[in-house]
């Protein structure tokens, strides 16, 4: 069975004061190979927890995650991660960062160099191979992170707000790059974001999660990612349906935030 299947995952943390937090409750989801899923939700809805379970950094208290027929039990090279920022190895050059995965596998120098050169060209950093990563701008660093992840040829790419720390213009360019890479490589991608627009643009499927306990609130299937592959993203945003869905989701998240605030005030008095 190809694809990623999330099967009734629940996550409960025990707190030091004896209480517990239900971060996720009965989350189920099937993702076919090559699908692009974006996950959206207010803070505390468990979206990062879900990603950490998928990456294998956390073990769920109930349920399981299955990738291509194998239950996920820890981190592995078939599930690549792209983090928000600061996950590059600043003691290595751009080339060494991108070649890190192949090197860990013990790949010979020559095929490794070919992979690295190719991917750096794909993300547009061919001229910066020997630079130190801290000499690059934030957007360029995220390009390196994408290339580093792709160099390992993962089946699934997990992105934890990869563009969250970038300025608006760079962010827009990078969104285009993510779509291009998705189409060219055909990888399954799960992308977590805070930005509703980004979730709409970069989600073939879009999951809105609700907090306390973290659960799937609503799921969308959207045409915008497919449109954006060969179209200007600003054009996509002008699509009438784009605005409608955006307003709907924003309202949904507003309501959730209000509810949380109200509940906190209730607890406070």
């Amino acid at each position: 069975m190809s694809g990623l299947s999330i099967d009734k995952i629940s996550m409960r943390f025990d707190l030091p004061n004896g209480g517990s937090v239900q971060a996720l409750k009965d989350v189920s989801l099937d993702l076919k190979a090559g699908e692009l899923l974006s996950v959206l939700g207010p803070s505390g809805c468990g979206k990062t927890t879900l990603l950490n379970i998928a990456a294998g950094f956390l073990a769920p208290t109930e349920g399981r995650m299955v990738l291509n027929g194998n239950t996920v039990e820890g981190p592995g090279p078939e599930r690549g991660m792209v983090f928000q920022q600061g996950a590059l190895f600043e003691w290595m050059s751009v080339r060494e960062n991108v070649g890190f995965g192949p090197k860990m596998k013990g790949m010979a120098a020559k095929p490794k160099a070919e992979i690295v050169d190719h991917l750096l060209d794909v993300v547009g950093l061919g001229a910066f191979k020997e630079k130190a990563v801290y000499e690059l701008s934030g957007g360029m660093q995220q390009r390196v992170a994408l290339a580093r992840c792709l160099a390992n040829e993962p089946d699934v790419i997990l992105m934890d707000e990869p563009l969250g720390a970038l300025d608006a213009l760079t962010r827009e360019k990078m969104q285009g790059l993510v779509l291009k890479l998705w189409k060219e490589t055909g990888k399954t991608i799960i992308l977590i974001t805070h930005s509703v627009e980004e979730a709409l643009l970069l989600g073939e499927r879009l999951l809105v999660m609700a907090p306390r306990p973290g659960r799937i609130h609503k799921e969308y299937r959207l045409p915008f990612a497919e449109m954006g592959v060969d179209k200007d993203l600003r054009e996509v945003k002008k699509h009438p349906q784009f605005g409608e869905v955006r307003e709907e989701i924003l309202g949904m998240i507003w309501d959730m935030e209000e509810e949380i605030m109200g509940r906190n005030e209730g607890e406070g008095s």
Binding site: Q84, G86, F89, E90, W91, F100, G101, K105, R148, C149
Partner: protein, 444 residues
Amino acid sequence: MNLLSQLGAELGAVFVTLLSAAPFIAGYIAIILLCALIWQTVKKFLTPKADYGSLKTVTFGDESAVTSNTVASVVSIVLIFVLWAAFTGSKLLPSFLHAPGAFEGTGEFSYTVTTPDGQTDDATVSVVVFPAGSDVDAPEVDPGEGFAKNDSVAIAAFRSELLRVDENDEIGRDQDAVVSAINGVAVEPGSVVDVGFGDVEISRRGTPNIKPSGGMQMEPIWLPAPEAVWSRVTEIASTGFRNSTLAEHLGFSLFRVVVGFILGAIVGIPLGYAMGLSNWFRGWFDPIVEFMRPVPPLALIPLVIIWAGIGEVGKIILLFLAALWIMAIGARSGVSGVRISKVHAAYSLGASKWQIMRYVIIPNSLPEIFTAARVAMGVCWGTVVAAELVAAEKGAGMMIMTASKFQNTDIVIMGIILIGIIGFSIDMLMRWIERLLVPWKGKG
């Protein structure tokens, strides 16, 4: 209460000392401001620079607009040597720049003796003040008329002399005659009379104490002139001090520091890694490290001497202990400081535990380890000098301590300057190595 009054008295003494230094400090500040003023004037004649900083209109309060003025640094260092030379009468400086020196030459004053029955007679005292180091006899003088006879005395510069003027008089102290006036000024025990070339103070028992003016220069035994210190450097560099050359003294100190530091690093870094990577090791060593860290290494000197004697072993154990905790804590915080996303990223890229250690944790901890190494080298250098002050056969600290026991102030000053230069060089060297090996420091 007793302790409080003691502390109060000590505090009073400190204040008195500070007050006596106040005019000199005020003078120094005046020189600083004067130099600033001169520089401002000179700067007007230079081509102004139109760099970013000079175009700022708000500079007072803008920390980034304050940079170290190189001219001020150079002038400050030159001034230290100029002041040093001026107050030691150095030959490096033209004599008009010297602070007023001690009186040298001849002078005289008269004293009046009054007997119990009211007779008085005057006599003259001839004083010869000769430079320290030479040997001059008191001049012959004519005893003169009357029952008080003329006296003469030779005094070395900076010294004073209690002169029993009555010793050659016909009616002296044994007959209850007293010195009642100096240069015609009536005196009693305790009074001080300015006689031109210095002061004459009447002691409690009525004897004049002749104090030729000491001027404002320092005596060589308190502060030798720069050239004297320099000539001592060259002398000790070639002939040695206490059976060892200067290079041997300094070399031994450096050797102890380097060996002690390397041993401390060899044990401390793995210890720090273990503490950073394992709950059990963290729990086991935390109490030990956290207790040993605030214990100053100097406090361990007596114990190390009892256990290991004053030889090399004891010193190296001491320096090992000085470096050990600093390196362990540096390595521990280097490991703990690794951003979890880097470790997660490496695992997701297929790295094994060993590869995580080799490619992520160790390089990530290097900047912290280098910072710790710099601190440790500084502490070790300070500790070795202190340990050598206490007991050693060779070493920079031993050299200055032994010299101080013989009032060889020039060697002490030379030693202090060399110790400072070496300490500074060690720090510069460590910074240079750091820049070379961990260029990513602070860039994560």
